[in-house]
């Protein structure tokens, strides 16, 4: 296989994980920036609709680097999908595929299951809950927790912060509860 073909395949965890870990020292050395992504949502609030709420009354321009960073993520994902598209369907565990088939999810052409997440589905209960309610909980929960997977689980744990470990465990508790106890009912809607 030529190198380009190899790059088009899904990258293994032992390549991606260490490279993500290197983001921590890279941002620190480039400009003393602590890695964190959910803060970008707060800066957008501060920039667009601070509404006199103390939590959003700060000079967001001082944190503009964070918005450049997330803009970079968006551009990078377009580059990956245009220049390095994976021609194969996404491989998932057999049990997952069997369970999802029960709810009519059979399309593995995209990393996001387009049968669940599409514009038309927004007006169904299932789509509304997954996209709108789910998104709200991600934004509300990460800010309430003071960080997300990047700020707590990667940056916080790298700096040996106990609150970040507590937050990470809470993320996992919520995720396990959703996937095992609640999501089957949402998917059945």
């Amino acid at each position: 296989m030529n190198p380009l073909e190899v790059l088009k395949q899904p990258w293994p965890w032992y390549v991606a994980g260490p490279l993500i870990g290197l983001t921590v020292p890279t941002l620190l050395i480039l400009g003393n920036k602590s890695f964190g992504i959910s803060s970008s949502l707060r800066h957008i609030c501060a920039a667009c609709m601070p509404a006199n709420i103390p939590f959003f009354k700060y000079d967001w321009k001082k944190e503009a680097w964070n918005l450049f960073f997330v803009a970079g993520i968006l551009i990078g994902s377009i580059i990956a999908i245009v220049l390095l598209p994976n021609p194969e369907p996404i491989k998932v565990h057999e049990n997952l595929a069997n369970d999802l088939a029960k709810y009519g999810i059979t399309d593995y052409s995209h990393l996001v299951p387009l049968q669940l997440f599409n514009w038309k589905a927004l007006s169904t209960w299932r789509g509304f809950i997954l996209m709108v309610v789910g998104g709200f909980m991600v934004g509300f929960g990460t800010r309430y927790a003071g960080g997300c997977t990047s700020g707590h689980s990667i940056m916080g744990l790298s700096n040996l912060q106990l609150p970040s470990l507590i937050a990470t465990i809470s993320f996992m508790v919520g995720g396990f509860a959703m996937v095992h106890l609640i999501l089957p009912y949402i998917l059945a809607l």
Binding site: G21, S38, W65, L84, N86, L122, G135, A145, L183, I186
Partner: protein, 174 residues
Amino acid sequence: MIEQNVQEKQTTIVENHDFEVRSLDAMCVNTSQVEQKWYSNLKYMAVGMIFGILFVKAEIISWFRIQEMFRLESFHMYGVIGSAVAVGMLSVWLIKKFKIKTIDGEPITLQPKKFNKGQIIGGIIFGLGWGMTGACPGPLYAQIGTGATVILITLLSAILGTWVYGFLRDKLPH
């Protein structure tokens, strides 16, 4: 007299406000002392681009991968997060040990995080949302980039969620 006192107090709060408010969540509080032009931010965009490519190619933004993680059907995400944390820990330790400075020669500072109940309550709320959307905030941006444009709605909803948190902040247990 009392009124004047209150007013004075308010002035002081406003003066220190910026750093105070931004440090509330212990993220992104380090302001460089060196005057930077706007285009110095482009280097962070470059790092973000590499990050975005990694997110897509390692399928970290895949809804299916997140389901597999919570169903314990794949080691992939545990491997990604585990090895990222290991490399991050080693890097932070090295930075502290050798007192490595930024490229502008400034000392690197790390803010300790304080415990509050939000890390548990908010953490669980985020976890529930993570299991539904299959995305934490970073992957939301990348999912849009891969062509799932409807995720823009999920992102806007996440911004609204952040705003509502800011609005209710004083009434929530911390």
